[in-house]
C-alpha cells in the first residue's frame, strides 16, 4: 500500500474560537483515504525581515516552520478575508516560507484554497490575492471547485461536522478533487525525478 501523502493545513485566523479553523478541521474529516493532515501554526512567526536571514541568525520559529512545510507534499490554505485581502499573518507566513531567496519551502507543492467569511461573499478578495502569490511560489493550484464559503459562523459543530448537508457534500467533493490534483502532480514530480 502506498504511503499517505502529507498535507500542511494553514489557517489564516489566529482566534481561539475561529470558525475558519473549524472549517479546516471539518475539511480534513471529509478527506478521501491516502492523505494525512498536519496543522501548521503561523501565529508564532515574527514578521519577516531579511536582515535576520542575511545575518545568518533567522528566528527559530522561522526555521522550524520552513522545515515543516518542506517536509509536506501539499498545502491546504483555509482563510478568512481581512480588508478584502489575505490576513497579514497568513501573508507573513508565505513570506517567511519563501526565503532565503532561492530556497523557498513552498516550491512546486500542489495546493488548494478555501476562503471563509461570516457574510455572503465568501472571501473572494482573499482567495484570489492568495492565488497571485502562489503563481510566483510555483504551487500548482486546484482550480475547480472554487471554494468561497459564506455564512460560516455557524456552519460546523463542535465535533467538526458540517451541519448543512449541501455544504458538506460540496466540501467532500472539494477534498476529493484536491486529492486527485495532489496525486497527479506528485506522481508527475516523482516520475521526473
Amino acid at each position: 500500500m502506498a504511503q499517505a501523502l502529507t498535507v500542511a493545513v494553514l489557517v489564516g485566523s489566529l482566534r481561539k474560537a475561529s470558525f475558519t479553523r473549524k472549517v479546516a478541521e471539518a475539511l480534513t474529516k471529509l478527506s478521501p483515504e491516502g492523505f494525512s493532515y498536519k496543522h501548521v501554526g503561523i501565529g508564532q512567526l515574527p514578521l519577516y525581515n531579511q536582515d535576520l536571514d542575511d545575518e545568518g541568525s533567522p528566528p527559530e520559529a522561522w526555521t522550524a516552520f520552513r522545515e515543516t512545510i518542506r517536509a509536506c507534499d501539499a498545502v491546504l490554505f483555509v482563510t478568512p478575508e481581512y480588508n478584502r485581502s489575505v490576513p497579514g499573518g497568513l501573508k507573513n507566513a508565505l513570506d517567511v516560507g519563501s526565503r532565503p531567496y532561492g530556497k523557498s519551502a513552498w516550491n512546486r507543492k500542489p495546493c488548494a484554497i478555501v476562503s471563509v467569511t461570516p457574510g455572503a461573499m465568501g472571501g473572494f478578495g482573499a482567495n484570489h490575492h492568495l492565488r497571485q502569490s502562489l503563481v510566483f511560489l510555483d504551487m500548482p493550484m486546484l482550480n475547480q471547485p472554487e471554494a468561497y464559503i459564506g455564512h460560516a459562523s455557524d456552519l460546523v459543530d463542535d465535533e467538526f461536522n458540517v451541519k448543512n448537508e449541501g455544504t458538506r457534500a460540496f466540501l467532500k467533493g472539494f477534498m476529493e478533487a484536491f486529492g486527485r490534483w495532489t496525486t497527479t502532480l506528485v506522481r508527475a514530480r516523482d516520475a521526473a525525478a
Copy 2:
C-alpha cells in the same frame, strides 16, 4: 498661514538598509510646502488576533499605532513587493489599524502608494493588492501618476537625494499631485463637518 497637514509614512520593508525606506525619505524631501511627514513603524506590531481586542486588552503597540494613524490627515504607503503582493508586515499594519470593527483608524484619510523594487517591474502586484484593501478602508487614493519604481537599489544617496534626474522630477511631480489630492479631500471633509 494654514497649519501643515500631517502625513503618516508607512514603509513596507523592515530591513535597516532598506532602499524602500530611502525612497520614502527622498519622497518627503521632495514634498511641496504645507505638509509635515511622520514615519510610523510597523515592525513592532504583533500579528492581528481579534481575541485581544474582544478581551479588552489589545497590545500597547496596537493602541499606540492606531492613535498615531488617527491623528494624521493622510497616509503615504511606500512598499516593496513580496511574492507578488503586499508584505505580510504591512498588511498586518493595515489589519491592526482597521480594528476594532467600526473604529478603523484609516477611515477617509486620503492616501497615495509608491511601490519599489530592485528589478524592472516596479511592484505592480503589491501596488494594486494594496489598493483593493484601501477601497474597503475608504481611503481616497491618488490615481495618477501611478508610481512603480523599478531599479531602486541604487536610486537614492545617503542624504536621501534621488540620483537619477528623470526619476527625481517624476517623484517631485508625484508629491505635488498627492499634495493637491490631499488638500482637496481634506477641505471637502472639513466643509462637510
Copy 3:
C-alpha cells in the same frame, strides 16, 4: 440654480431583458436632485484595433462614443461578472474610450461601480478588475459604499422600482454618496481650471 451634472451610465450586459440594466434604471430613479443620467450603449462598438485610429479612419461608432463620454461630468458603471472579470464588451468600451493615446475621453471623470449577479457573491471579481483599469484612466472612484448586488434576477420590477426595501435604501444611500463624491471632485476641477 446650478446646472445639473451629467452622468453617463454604462451597462455591462447586452441582453434585452438584462437585470443589470434594470438595476441601472432603478439606480437613476433613486438619484438625489442635481444630476441627469444618460444611458450610453456599448454593444455597437467594433473591437478596438489601433490600426483604425492610426490610419485616421476610426469607426463612426467609436467617435460618437468618445464624444458622448467626453461631454459627461461623471460615469456610473453597472455590470455583471463574466468569468470572474469585466465582460469583454464593457472592457472594449473602456479601451475604445481611452484612445487615441493621450486623448482619453475618461480622463479625470469621477465614477462609481455597481456589480450585479444572480448568485450570492455580487460580482466582486468584475468590480475590482474594473477598478484597476480606472486607476490608469485617472477616474476618481467612489470607495464606499461598495456595491456588490447579489440575487439580482428578481430585484427590480418593470417600473424600475427595487422590490426589496433594504436594498432600496442601500442603493439610495449609494447614489447620494456618489452624488457627493461627484460634486466634490467636479468643484475641485473647476476651481483648479
Copy 4:
C-alpha cells in the same frame, strides 16, 4: 510515435503589425517537438450577448471559434495590456468560448500566458487578470516561469526570430516548461477517462 498535441494560440492584439503577434510566432518557433500550433483569430467575434445563444441562433463566428478551441489540447495566450488589464477583444473571446452555460470550450485545457508590452513592466496587470478568469474556466495554468515581456516593440525580427539572446533562451525555456505541463495534464486526463 505519439501524435502531436494541438495548441491554440490566441493573440490579444488585432493590429496587423502587432509585435505581440510577432512574439507569438517566435514562441511557436521555439517549441519542443511534439506540439503543433494553431493560430485562432478573435477579431471576427461579435460581442457576447446571451440572447443570441438563448434564441438558438449564435453567430457563425462564435460557433466556429468554439469548435476550434474544443478541438485543441491546450491554449497559449499572448497578450498586450490595455488599461492595466486584458484587452476587451481577448476577454470577449474568453466569454464567447465559455458559453452556453455548461458547455465551455475551455474546460480543463492546460494553458500558459505571455504578456507583452513596449514599456518596462511587461503587462503584469493583463497577465494576472487573465489568470483570475482561467481559474473559473478550469484551465490549469503554467505557473513558472512567469513571462512578462517588456521592451517588446523591437524584440522579434521579420522571420520571427528573437533578436535578444537572453530573451530567446528564456522563451525557449518557457515553451519547454509549457510542453511538460501540457503533457502531464493531458496524460492525467487520458488516464482518468
